[in-house]
Assembly symmetry: C2
Homo-oligomer: 458 residues x 2
């Protein structure tokens, strides 16, 4: 491996870190369609969004023309504690596969939240603090986003209230304890602390909760308590904006060594990581300055891009949130409970949906047993135990590298390794024990939930 000068890990210097986020929408010819008020069917205004979200975040949400938005110094200081994240050359994986392809991954897991989610959590906490708020509320399933937010709030001394799906609260106590260590109050949802929680508990005593219900409780807690706002870890335009730090660092690191990728691969649930990773590359593609294959990888058990419909839909299963124009399986679609990790959102970022619709991106879906096979192969040679979510991208990257082995092409592949799997060992145990299953929805399953799309599409 001494024939090349490219180090195993490329770390940027502090002064090379991005000073502004990049807003993909500014360079899109076809802008993503606006969020609609589900009651009126009309685009949501700043006035309608401000009781829910912080003001500057509403501005970012609605701004589809400003290309670069400066990152405040306070956020850059926090970024410096765990960023820049390394861009790693997967020398050992390449060797193991026997591929002529060159594989790089941008590793976002070197922080206690264990994923890229912290990049947006700290931004959202900062704007909440700047607005003089007391705190923020959110929901969390397994706890990745809740952990990131609790770390961010602890740094800015903000109150953080996390509604955690009750079954996770009870069965996955470790992330709950991380959140508590950072000072967050973690409430099992449904709870008696909100009207919607009380209502659900009275109608369904003994329920173990759902993400949809936790969202409803978090939104109620934000809007009914003076000095609180609601924050969200994916899907939204503002989140993709903040996550552009991933792609900007990646591009700077590649440019530093004169590396031009052929294929850029990211896993896609709500789209926060993928949207962030591809941002500066997509910019060149939109401007016709460069071409890249950009590949979204989604689970076969929740295939929004590959089997969904491009339409307006609710962002939540409870059908109380705004309508977004996106690739969706229908807001009533629920992926199999056997599906491990995240990437279980029925829809997709409106930005990525529009880009996919316009042919700027590809998408593939992969089955989870093959995802864990890739995860294990990666872990054993590259050292890092990857998150199930990230492992979708590993699967696709390995598949592309194996194609190169057949054709002899020396392609350069870059993928996003969004996080670590240290809190996902129940899923790894299933894989190790050979009892992991793949459950793919039938066409009828998808047709049934798509049939319930809101009538605004008609």
């Amino acid at each position: 491996m001494s024939e090349t000068k490219i180090p195993y890990k490329i770390y940027l210097e502090e002064e090379e870190m991005p000073k502004a986020w990049y807003n993909l929408r500014a360079d899109m010819k076809n802008k993503p369609e606006p969020l609609l008020n589900p009651g009126t069917g009309k685009p949501l205004t700043k006035e309608e969004l401000s009781p829910i979200f912080c003001e500057e975040l509403v501005d970012q949400e609605l701004d589809d023309t400003t290309a670069f938005i400066p990152i405040p110094d306070e956020i850059r200081d926090f970024y410096k504690m765990y960023r820049p994240s390394p861009l790693v050359r997967a020398y050992c994986l390449e060797k193991k596969l026997g591929t002529p392809a060159k594989i790089y991954y941008k590793f976002e897991g070197n922080n206690t939240s264990g994923s890229h989610k912290l990049n947006s959590a700290i931004a959202q906490a900062y704007y909440a603090k700047k607005q003089g708020l007391k705190g923020v509320t959110t929901e969390t399933g397994a706890g990745q986003w809740g952990t990131a937010l609790s770390m961010a709030c602890s740094y800015f001394d903000l109150d953080c209230k996390v509604y955690m799906v009750k079954v996770s609260y009870e069965q996955k106590p470790f992330r709950r304890e991380v959140m508590r260590t950072y000072g967050a109050s973690v409430v099992p949802s449904p709870s008696e602390t909100t009207e919607v929680g009380k209502k659900i508990l009275s109608e369904h005593p003994g329920t173990t909760g759902s993400l949809g219900c936790a969202i409803s409780e978090a939104v109620e807690a934000a809007t009914k308590n003076e000095g609180y706002r609601y924050v969200l870890g994916s899907v939204l335009n503002q989140v993709l904006l903040h996550q552009s730090v991933i792609g900007l660092e990646t591009k700077t690191a590649l440019d530093k060594y004169g590396i031009k990728p052929d294929i850029i691969i990211g896993c896609a649930g709500g789209g926060s990581n993928l949207g962030g990773l591809i941002a500066p590359f997509m910019r060149e593609k939109l401007k016709g300055e460069a071409d890249y294959r950009i590949v979204a990888v989604e689970p076969a058990s929740c295939p929004s891009f590959t089997r969904g419909t491009f339409a307006y839909d609710f962002c939540d299963t409870g059908m109380i949130c705004p309508l977004a124009k996106m690739y969706t399986l229908g807001s009533s679609f629920i992926p199999s409970a056997n599906h491990a990790g995240g990437l279980r959102f029925h829809g997709m970022s409106t930005i990525l949906s529009q880009l996919y619709h316009d042919g700027y991106m590809e998408a593939v879906s992969v089955e989870q047993s093959s995802v864990f096979e890739a995860a294990e192969q990666f872990a054993r040679v590259e050292g890092i135990l990857p998150a199930p979510e990230s492992s979708h991208a590993i699967r696709a990257a390995i598949d592309e590298a194996l194609k190169c082995k057949e054709t002899g092409e020396e392609k350069t592949i870059v993928f996003g390794l969004t996080g670590t799997g240290y809190f996902d060992l129940v899923a790894y145990e299933k894989y190790n024990d050979g009892v992991m299953t793949d459950e793919i929805p039938t066409d009828e399953d998808i047709a049934a939930s798509v049939a319930k799309l809101p009538k605004v599409n008609a």
Copy 2:
């Protein structure tokens, strides 16, 4: 924070990484006393050690004259996957404490094993592979060392058999699954796979095991199976040698920015991290070229340095392993079950014991509730959730920084942050719930186990 040019994280370039380990013993006037054969009371020879350990590791164990031992390229390649580890300026902690002290920490947790243990695991696996062995055996309690070793063996395609204390195997399944993902076979100890295990099971049916028993099984499995050797993650001279990579990187990073530390602090269980961190600094001190305060921090529940005796003792509770001249609480001493994390070894590295005896180091002991208080304070401002072991060093570093606040001295403090606490959340939960206790041995407890020291001391 912009008044200084020192970045939050100092990362060395690949070419600045150490090319040789530093062997502290070469510069010690009073060498550590040799290991003794417990049967004969005579120093152990290479011939006696070779059936248990790999040959090159035996050479390293016995070599007290060669100052620098080259790091083989194969090991340096692996180091490049997760090293250099960052030397972090704790700007946010300094600000929170309001101290004029400058605090740095060398963070060894950015790898899946979660700690510095990987530095020696990869070296030991390499020499086993080089010798043409089939595999290695070891024991593990909570699993930190076993995880590191399984990662190292997977990289070199070596068989890895880990005897895991049964109670941990059952109650802490997550590390077990990490090891299995890396291909290790993890056996709950005591087991039916060894004679000693069968004997213990027949005498104590239903026992949940102990580290002493797991050591005995691992040694038996290594010596009775063709092509296997036993490996150990701390205490030994060879382990301190490999861990010198921590201190060498730290010193290079400090020198690069012209920083001279006043105080160097590390937690001490068997001494692997502390011995590695201080190595090049102690070298200067031994040569009279520089002076530093060097502080070992140990748990009040297992205070080998501060309340132990400098004498020959067994390295294991089963009294089958060699005798080492060290600070010891007696090999029959068992720290309270309420003590969280590692640092529960009754003795201490012979190298560090000699240096402490000769006045080159200080030692302090700290109680675990104050350790977790420091851990929480650190996590909330610096982001990283620290391991309980590492948090002993955080406690002492904060205490020194607070002294500086009183005196106004701008001291430079460097401490070792050995790892992350992601698998220690049961202990954090106890702290969060306010039910953590401090259990300190009485003088009578210690006198009782010290009274059983082997007669070779007489």
